[in-house]
Symmetry: C2
């Protein structure tokens, strides 16, 4: 299995049957049809798939973190989403990936063939409904992000980002950001310097604390909510 496609330089690869009564979103899709899922690993900064590449697989982050992005011809980059453990990414209704995906840090994913998911959707209405719901979830995020990119100030964008990451990856009141300032900037439509200045300002206001540049504790979520417009 997987003789070539998920790019050459994989480190680990293990085939598994998806457990039937999986509770998470991906399981909700794969569980029903008893689809075959494979694990695969990528090193930091390794490409998972490129923009406009055939969408052969659908992915779920097991551990690590992934960025999905588009590039302009001169290298300007817009990150559309970060994918964290549990998240499904790379799901397409059409035949190709609309954004590229790269591992932000060493990352392990579970993957299933898109064709087998589509087949399952043709048999089981619940699977079809789940595919739709997952795409609708991505759309919802994109709609919120358009508002941020088109109309929020730098400080509002950073506040929104912090609350999003707090919600998605805070453990014991602390977040360990997997991505660098440039990634955050390319997600928020800002430069890395502007992101850094906003974070410094929030620290000086006592809204957050650092222990290392990527370990952040939010000390005043309400203030952040007020800033996020």
């Amino acid at each position: 299995m997987l003789t070539q496609s998920p790019t050459s330089s994989a480190i680990a690869s293990r085939v598994s049957q998806v457990p039937h009564a999986a509770l998470d979103q991906f399981g909700a899709v794969t569980g029903h049809a008893g689809l075959i899922a494979t694990e695969f690993s990528y090193r930091k900064d390794e490409e998972i798939y490129g923009e406009d590449e055939p969408a052969e697989y659908v992915y779920q982050v097991i551990s690590g973190a992934v960025r999905s992005y588009k590039l302009l011809s001169d290298g300007r980059r817009q990150i559309g989403a970060f994918h964290l453990p549990g998240d499904v990414f790379g799901l397409e209704s059409g035949t190709v990936h609309r954004l590229a995906a790269e591992a932000i840090i060493d990352t392990t994913v579970r993957l299933v063939k898109r064709r087998s998911l589509e087949q399952a959707a043709g048999i089981d209405v619940k699977v079809a409904r789940n595919l739709w719901t997952m795409t609708a979830g991505d759309l919802r995020h994109a709609e919120d992000h358009m508002l941020l990119l088109g109309r929020k100030t730098a400080m509002e964008r950073v506040a929104t980002f912090l609350l999003e990451m707090d919600r998605r990856l805070a453990v014991a009141g602390m977040m360990a950001l997997p991505m660098c300032r440039r990634d955050i900037g390319d997600y928020l439509g800002l430069t890395l310097e502007t992101v850094s200045r906003a974070l410094s300002q929030l620290q000086s206001q006592g809204v957050l604390g650092f222990s290392g540049a990527r370990q952040i504790v939010l000390r005043n979520r309400q203030r952040l909510h007020n800033m996020d417009a």
Copy 2:
């Protein structure tokens, strides 16, 4: 029928059976199950539905034009999409509308109950597939638009907008824009003045010609493609 929901101030309302072999996207969904569709009209600037309102209906523009948007608490607005004749809008996988919708000019829509579509999707796999495909199309647009909002210059945004509108509503090489400069600005994440200046510059460069502020002829699509980054 429609005793209250699609907002009170409708002008015309007509019930129709959707023709079976409809060729367009909406027809592809409604045709299969013989769903009941109703026509409804809205006056310029009339609200069709509000953000976070229950998503009771799915709409298709018959004539006119619609803007879908989100607002920040202080009134800043991001238009996520313009809907032109033939376009389906207001389709949600969840229970509420994530964006508000308003008629840009006097507009007639066809609408069907969301619940009946969902029901049809549970019976006919093709309907389910079409719902997914339509949402995926909206997602694709949103992903492209995030790149525009996060990373393109003002001139690149306006060039992209003109090419989009040219593709979607040009008749005999001319486009009649239904929306004002402020709407265009709120779609592109710019002010109306910046949009106006970009259009004037394109005119002075001979890339386009006006006959009235909203009647535009593109004279050099290749130059626009080069500008759109």
